[in-house]
Amino acid sequence: MNIIISNSSNKPIYEQITNQIKNIIIAGEMTTGDVLPSMRLLAKELRISVITTKRAYEELEREGFIETVTGKGSFVADKNPELLREEHLKRIEEHLIHACDIAKVAKISEEELAVMLKLIYEE
């Protein structure tokens, strides 16, 4: 399991962790019931605050990716296909917002943008 923290990323560290663990789960590298490293171990290895790893795990738990059992640790939760689709949609939305922001700054119209998207998708 690889988790790489970038200091130059604009994303907060907890979000970098949640995203990477999500990717690991979505890619099937870890499956239902697999044990995740403890929050304190992860903090130690990555040299970050325990509160940061705790927050990352809480986020993953809230979104249904993992389950945490007090005293036993955190496990990969049952995979829910709806959830995964939702997750992908959310990411696409993020990128599209970014694209739209750039378009607005450059005064590129909605139509032009739509044409571009269509072309790229069909590529």
């Binding site: 304190r40 040299r47 605050s49 509160i51």
Partner: protein, 287 residues
């Protein structure tokens, strides 16, 4: 066997004040939850050491309360559970690590010579060399080894990592992270060098001229503030309540801003802990 301690915080400082000629500590309050590391930052002379001495019951406060591990550092049992490292090596010149080992086993009830030997080996500290021939880094590592060899639950370090080279600081941070693998343990770390604190601290408490400017989770602090670099003219378009502090130069301005109030129209750089500290102390408020 001691009672199981249900207190959530290892240190609670509640409105302590202390006045000296030319310096006063006023209404200082903060909490260090168990299992966490707190960075206690501020300039030289801001009141860090005075606060730490009051926590350790080495100096008596004029008002306010301090609770350490659910009790008071006056209590010998509580003192057993605190590992302390001060800025200046506090061991006599003509003493070596073996001498210390032989003395401390009579001082601390929970002293563990095996643990101490392990740290000496790990930190490459010679057993027979006299303290006066130690480098600053060696002295600090030895003091930390002592602090960690009597099963302390709370580590208090006053400027212990300042003036050490990056390799030694790294080794020490490793040891800290191991220490808090036990969620009952916690660390209060005072420093004016903030860069390495940024990495591992859970909480930041910032003291300036004897008053607490802020005390909160580090992650929230880093998310709350950002740096905006722009021209004076552009700054006028920034919502006034988003601007925390400003520093001007001949060619533009830099502002410490609150991210949630500024909107997406501006490009905001990350503010490091050092930036936040500098702006809070040296920056101007916009009126």
């Amino acid at each position: 066997m001691k009672n199981v301690n249900l207190e959530k915080n290892s240190i609670v400082v509640d409105k302590i004040s202390k006045h000296y000629d030319g310096f006063s500590l006023e209404n200082v309050s903060f909490k260090l939850p168990k299992g966490c590391i707190m960075g206690f930052i501020g300039e030289n002379g801001a009141g860090k050491s005075t606060t730490i001495k009051i926590i350790l019951d080495l100096v008596k406060q004029e008002s306010g309360n301090v609770s350490v591990l659910g009790d008071n550092a006056k209590n010998a049992n509580v003192r057993e559970d605190i590992g302390v490292v001060f800025d200046e090596g506090c061991f006599p010149d003509e003493i070596n690590a073996d001498n210390l080992k032989n003395s401390f086993k009579y001082i601390y009830k929970n002293w563990d010579s095996n643990v101490f030997d392990d740290y000496l080996k790990r930190f490459s500290i010679p057993n027979k060399k006299n303290m006066k021939d130690f480098s600053r880094g060696m002295k600090m590592k030895l003091a930390i080894a002592v602090a960690l060899s009597h099963k302390a639950k709370l580590l208090v370090l006053d400027e212990a990592t300042s003036g050490l080279d990056p390799i030694v600081r790294e080794q020490i941070l490793d040891v800290f992270m191991e220490f808090i693998q036990n969620e009952e343990n916690s660390i209060l770390l005072s420093s004016h060098i903030v860069s390495d604190l940024e990495k591992v601290c859970d909480y930041i408490t910032f003291i300036h001229e004897g008053k607490i400017l802020l005390s909160k989770e580090k992650d929230l602090l880093m998310e709350e503030y950002g740096l905006l670099k722009c021209s004076k003219k552009e700054l006028e378009n920034v919502p006034q309540d988003a601007i925390e502090r400003v520093r001007e130069n001949q060619f533009g301005v830099e502002a410490l801003v609150k991210r949630n109030k500024i909107g997406r129209a501006f490009t905001i750089d990350k503010a490091t802990l050092e930036d936040i500290m500098l702006f809070m102390i040296r920056g101007n408020k916009v009126c």
